[in-house]
């Protein structure tokens, strides 16, 4: 489950059973080939099934009826949808706080102005390094200069901006340079988000996971910058759960405040959940959003704590972290109801320690990174 930084940062409002955070993954299509992409490995098969404009508008309306407040337009690359402005305008009229989560590719002056006019509130732009060669290598396209141009345009249009930096071994030592660049651009929120290891990132984990020493150093640089910059820029540093000894409170608990709609209309408790085999993923094409959120077997599966096994069941921290991430439990232990192995109390915690040890090892063979692109992996055996 991705990006729980967004849940821990600021939601001081108890959801009271409402999906306060609605994320629309408008498409899995994307011009970039990031090796840590959290889209499914078999993302190509969803291209034909993308919801159309009217279907997304129905999702927006039903989402507000359920009490959703924050809305993320995500992907893939949401700029590839030419109805984005229509959807933003509809969302704005319904009373959402609208966030665009983009790589910047496809954003130009005209579309920025159109989005502003439609009422878009905020833009989260991703950047991978302070250095053209490294960014372009990491995303598999010439994107660095374009991203910097887009960042300046976003500020010129007066949008609040979150600059999101996915962090891994290849860029973690650049934290200072990225801070300097963000300060110069005038970023409002800078988020260093250590990547989480699902889908493409898990395939490439051995090459991407930073060492503990790298993380300690990067965090010290961030803390120094926080002192210096005060309120001018808010800096988040999401450390990887692999080094935390306690699991993250993933999505603030399954089916409590987060609702993601995938490009094909599947209603998901988190963006990664289709990695868990044996679950069914009904879509908004067959069901109301209310049924999907309140009553579908998927959302009930790990809601609350009835499903928990030991050591979670009797753990005095279960209200705090909800046993961690179900996807990570499934991927690394084979059972989604197990304790997230990121927890040192998990009987499977050694799988995390082994990954950390491999990250530290100096004498391993470097492996090629697998880029997110068609045909990079064979997924025809993945059907459950």
């Amino acid at each position: 489950m991705p990006k729980d930084g967004s849940t821990t940062q600021a939601v001081s409002l108890d959801g009271q059973g409402k999906p306060m955070w609605l994320v629309l993954e408008l498409t899995y299509r994307c011009p970039l080939k990031c090796v840590w992409c959290n889209n499914p490995l078999d993302y190509e098969q969803y291209g034909r099934k993308e919801l159309n404009t009217d279907e997304w508008i129905r999702v927006l309306r039903e989402g507000r009826e359920l009490g959703a407040l924050q809305l993320g337009f995500s992907g893939g690359e949401p700029m590839l949808r030419d109805d984005l402005e229509i959807l933003v305008a509809e969302a704005e009229q319904l009373g959402y706080y609208t966030n665009l989560i983009t790589s910047g590719v496809g954003l130009n002056h005209e579309r920025l102005q159109a989005l502003k006019k439609a009422g878009l509130k905020q833009i989260q732009l991703s950047l991978q390094s302070a250095n053209r060669q490294l960014t372009d290598e990491l995303v598999g396209a010439r994107a660095h200069d374009l991203k910097i141009d887009v960042a300046r345009m976003i500020k010129a249009e007066g949008f609040p901006m979150v600059l999101n930096v996915p962090v891994f071994r290849q860029n973690i030592d650049q934290v200072q340079q990225i801070l300097d660049l963000a300060e110069e651009i005038g970023v409002d929120y800078l988020e260093f988000a250590n990547i989480q290891y699902y889908n493409w990132a898990l395939l490439n984990r051995e090459e991407l996971l930073p060492t503990r020493e790298q993380i300690v150093h990067a965090e010290a640089v961030v803390n120094e910058a926080r002192q210096r910059m005060g309120k001018r820029m808010t800096i988040y540093f999401v450390i990887p759960d692999y080094y935390e000894n306690r699991p993250k409170a993933c999505m603030n608990g399954w089916g409590t405040i987060h609702l993601t709609i995938a490009p094909d209309g599947a209603a998901l408790p988190c963006q990664e959940v289709r990695v868990i085999k044996g679950l069914e993923f009904p879509t908004v094409r067959e069901h109301s959003l209310s049924w999907l959120w309140n009553d579908s077997p998927l959302f009930k599966k790990f809601r609350g704590d009835e499903w928990m096994k030991e050591p979670c069941r009797t753990c005095d921290e279960k209200e705090k972290d909800f046993g961690g991430c179900r996807c990570q439990a499934f991927l690394l232990t084979g059972d989604a109801a197990n304790t997230d192995p990121a927890c040192s109390k998990s009987p499977h915690h050694h799988v995390i320690e082994m990954a950390i040890n491999r990250a530290r090892s100096n004498n391993k063979e470097p492996r090629p990174l697998i880029r997110r692109q068609p045909g990079a992996v064979i997924t025809s055996f993945m059907e459950s």
């Binding site: 967004s6 940062q9 600021a10 939601v11 001081s12 409002l13 108890d14 009271q16 409402k18 306060m20 009490g67 407040l69 924050q70 009373g95 706080y97 966030n99 509130k121 905020q122 989260q124 609040p160 979150v162 409002d188 929120y189 309120k231 808010t234």
Partner: protein, 97 residues
């Protein structure tokens, strides 16, 4: 407002444009929305922030709110404290007097 967050009666606080304050029926409350976050406000916090328009001075605010919350003890102190916290959190800017 000085560096140490102390407000003067003539200061005119204004909601930071990154924040959106509005009534939310489903929460039966005013909420503060901002990039990736939501804060639900209690009634007194709502009344104070609604007045942070850059037009009203703190002393005018105190006068208005004192009549609105006639029963609240030491409301002047509470308002200053809330505004100073809001300033420290970046919810409001000070447009001076």
């Amino acid at each position: 407002m000085s560096e140490n967050n102390i407000l003067a009666p003539q200061d005119r606080p204004k909601l930071n444009p990154k924040y959106l304050l509005r009534w939310e029926k489903s929460q039966d409350a005013y909420i503060l929305l901002y990039p990736e976050g939501v804060i639900k406000l209690n009634p007194s916090a709502s009344e104070i922030l609604k007045r942070c328009t850059g037009q009203l001075s703190v002393e005018d605010m105190v006068a208005e709110l004192s009549s609105l919350f006639a029963d609240a003890p030491d409301i002047t102190h509470s308002i200053y404290k809330f505004l100073e916290n809001s300033y420290a959190k970046g919810w409001i800017d000070n447009t001076g007097c």
